[in-house]
């Protein structure tokens, strides 16, 4: 008996105990892009319910990027009168802090979405449903975009309202910077999710801390050239370093370096493939060790 026959053969009835088997109550086709999109949408809906229907969550998503932006804005105001560099590029720190937050929110969006499932002890339900691993990842990435747009978008709005600084002054390169940082954040987020799945919620702190390992070598607030030589080697292996160098080029010289964009994209392809592979490995490990039904608060 297959699913279609099973559902089609049953007539509308109301059994003694109240069970209704309705001839029209079947399932949509389970394969193909439409089915995949429907399952991804279901996962996004689950997390969007949580995020958008809770003002404290929405507030906290915007709170940290906004407060950090305000700190750097006042530092800029304080230093600019005595600093030629800041006078010529007053948006230097603000642009850096807002773009850094794209990377941070991108990573956090992926990791927190996964941690939420672990807290809720919902992984078993998801992995027994028709949801594919690729769809789970796609759902995490979509939520990451949503969180980044809300978090960084809120900070950008306040930057304009309070300091008349618009991140859009970076022009079209902003899109390239945003995409590259978001994708690198996804890669780190997937790797962090893999580690949390491997070692349990005890490793949850990684979700908040892992990204800061990359901050010193990403050249967020200073050129990569100021780093010691060994750290420069590490820095140039990270897409984020090319983005922040590129941002400085745009702000200081008004030049967008396409080669840096190309290298950042190529590196991101490697990192996102690596992050996905690590996550897939962690799920296989969890299946072997029976962790999918055990993990939770």
């Amino acid at each position: 008996m297959n699913a279609a026959r099973h559902h089609a053969s049953a007539e509308v009835l109301r059994a003694a105990g109240g069970v209704r088997i309705d001839a029209d109550a079947g399932l949509h086709p389970q394969t193909g892009p439409a089915a995949s999109l429907r399952r991804i949408r279901a996962l996004v809906r689950r997390h969007a319910y949580l995020l958008l229907h809770s003002w404290p969550r929405l507030f906290s998503t915007m709170y940290y990027p906004t407060v950090t932006m305000v700190l750097w804005a006042f530092l800029t105001i304080y230093l600019a009168p005595t600093n030629d560099f800041l006078r010529s590029a007053p948006g230097f720190f603000l642009g850096a802090v807002l773009l850094w937050d794209v990377l941070f929110r991108g990573q956090l969006g992926v990791s927190l979405t996964f941690i939420e499932e672990m807290y809720a002890r919902n992984l078993g339900n998801l992995f027994v449903s028709p949801l594919r691993l690729s769809e789970l990842i796609a759902g995490q990435l979509t939520m990451s975009v949503l969180r980044a747009l809300i978090g960084v978008g809120g900070a950008c709005l306040f930057a304009w309202l309070l300091f008349r600084y618009s991140i859009f002054s970076l022009g079209l390169p902003l899109i390239a910077f945003f995409v590259n940082l978001l994708v690198f954040g996804w890669a780190i987020g997937l790797a962090v999710s893999a580690m949390i799945l491997r070692w349990g919620l005890g490793a949850e702190e990684l979700a908040w801390a892992a990204i800061f390992l990359f901050a010193p070598v990403s050249g967020v607030y200073y050129p990569i050239g100021v780093l010691p030589a060994p750290l420069q080697v590490i820095a140039w292996a990270l897409p984020s370093a090319y983005v922040f160098e590129g941002m400085r080029e745009v702000l200081l010289r008004g030049v967008f370096d396409w080669s840096m964009l190309g290298i950042a994209l190529a590196l991101n392809a490697v990192y996102i493939a690596g992050g996905s592979a690590l996550f897939a490995w962690a799920v296989r490990y969890a299946r072997r060790r029976g962790l999918l039904l055990q993990m939770g608060e």
Binding site: M1, A3, V19, S54, V128, G290
Partner: protein, 263 residues
């Protein structure tokens, strides 16, 4: 060993299933078949291998060896052909606590691709008497209410195979009885195959056509509840369970009469 005819007629076929964790054998070569449209119980004490076996059936635990076929599909190779047609409840999983019951059920309706989720949700709300708390967060519900919601989620896609781990464990006798009636009615109406792990022997006697008894990861006996009760010379399944779980003389005698090994 499973007979060819039984395997052909079965919704679930398990062959020589094994699970070893580092230095512990949790399941040691279990084989059984569950006929379509019947209800079978997996019985055994704590640590007998029931949940491990169910987890391997669901595909959330990779077996060390052996095979699982559900609705004719090899779960190791074609899990996604089967998953839309099965469902489960387990005390080891939960639903997101901050989402309301309605939101939770809607998410799973979409995950399973239910054609008319709004209507299906209304039906389940009615059938499981969820109306009073359908818009409350799942985390605020009592244990019994949560169990009802979990069962509603398990029936969202009108599964052809339903795996139930302790389905009525936290329900009071009244609600537990109503849930058992519901499961019986659902099976009658849909022809669903059910495999349940339970410590409630009254439930097993009432719902199950067959019983598979596990001890230390192996099948030590199986048969219809009445046949097992007669074979062990007992009055109830509770007494049979105690014999098997404790490995008492009656169990050993029964094994000898059967011409052990029993699996």
């Amino acid at each position: 060993m499973l007979s060819a005819s039984l395997a052909d007629d079965a919704a679930i076929v398990v062959r020589d299933l094994r699970k070893r964790y580092v230095d512990v054998d949790a399941v040691c070569g279990v084989s059984f078949a569950v006929r379509r449209g019947t209800t079978t119980a997996l019985l055994g004490g704590n640590g007998a291998g029931k949940t491990t076996t169910l987890s391997m059936l669901l595909g959330v635990l990779t077996p060390t060896a052996g095979s699982v076929h559900v609705l004719g599909e090899d779960m190791a190779r074609h899990r996604f052909r089967v998953l839309p047609r099965i469902n489960f409840t387990s005390p080891y999983v939960d639903l997101p606590k901050r989402l309301t019951v309605r939101q939770n059920l809607r998410v799973f309706a979409d995950l399973y691709g239910v054609r008319n989720p709004v209507r299906r949700l209304a039906e389940l709300t009615d059938e499981f008497d969820l109306a009073r708390f359908v818009d409350r967060p799942y985390g605020e519900l009592s244990a019994g209410q949560r169990t009802r919601v979990s069962l509603a989620k398990a029936l969202m896609n009108r599964p052809e195979v339903l795996l139930l781990d302790e389905p009525t464990a936290s329900l009071d006798p009244d609600v537990g009885d109503r849930m058992r009636s519901y499961l019986e009615d659902y099976q009658r109406a849909s022809g669903c195959t059910m495999l349940l792990a339970s410590h409630n022997m009254g439930e097993v006697e009432r719902l199950c056509d067959d019983v598979i008894m596990l001890r230390a990861g192996t099948v030590v006996d199986q048969g219809a509840p009445r046949a097992l009760i007669e074979r062990y010379g007992r009055e109830t399944m509770e007494e049979v369970f105690l014999d098997v779980a404790r490995g008492t003389a009656a169990d050993r005698d029964a094994a000898v009469e059967q011409g052990a090994p029993l699996s």
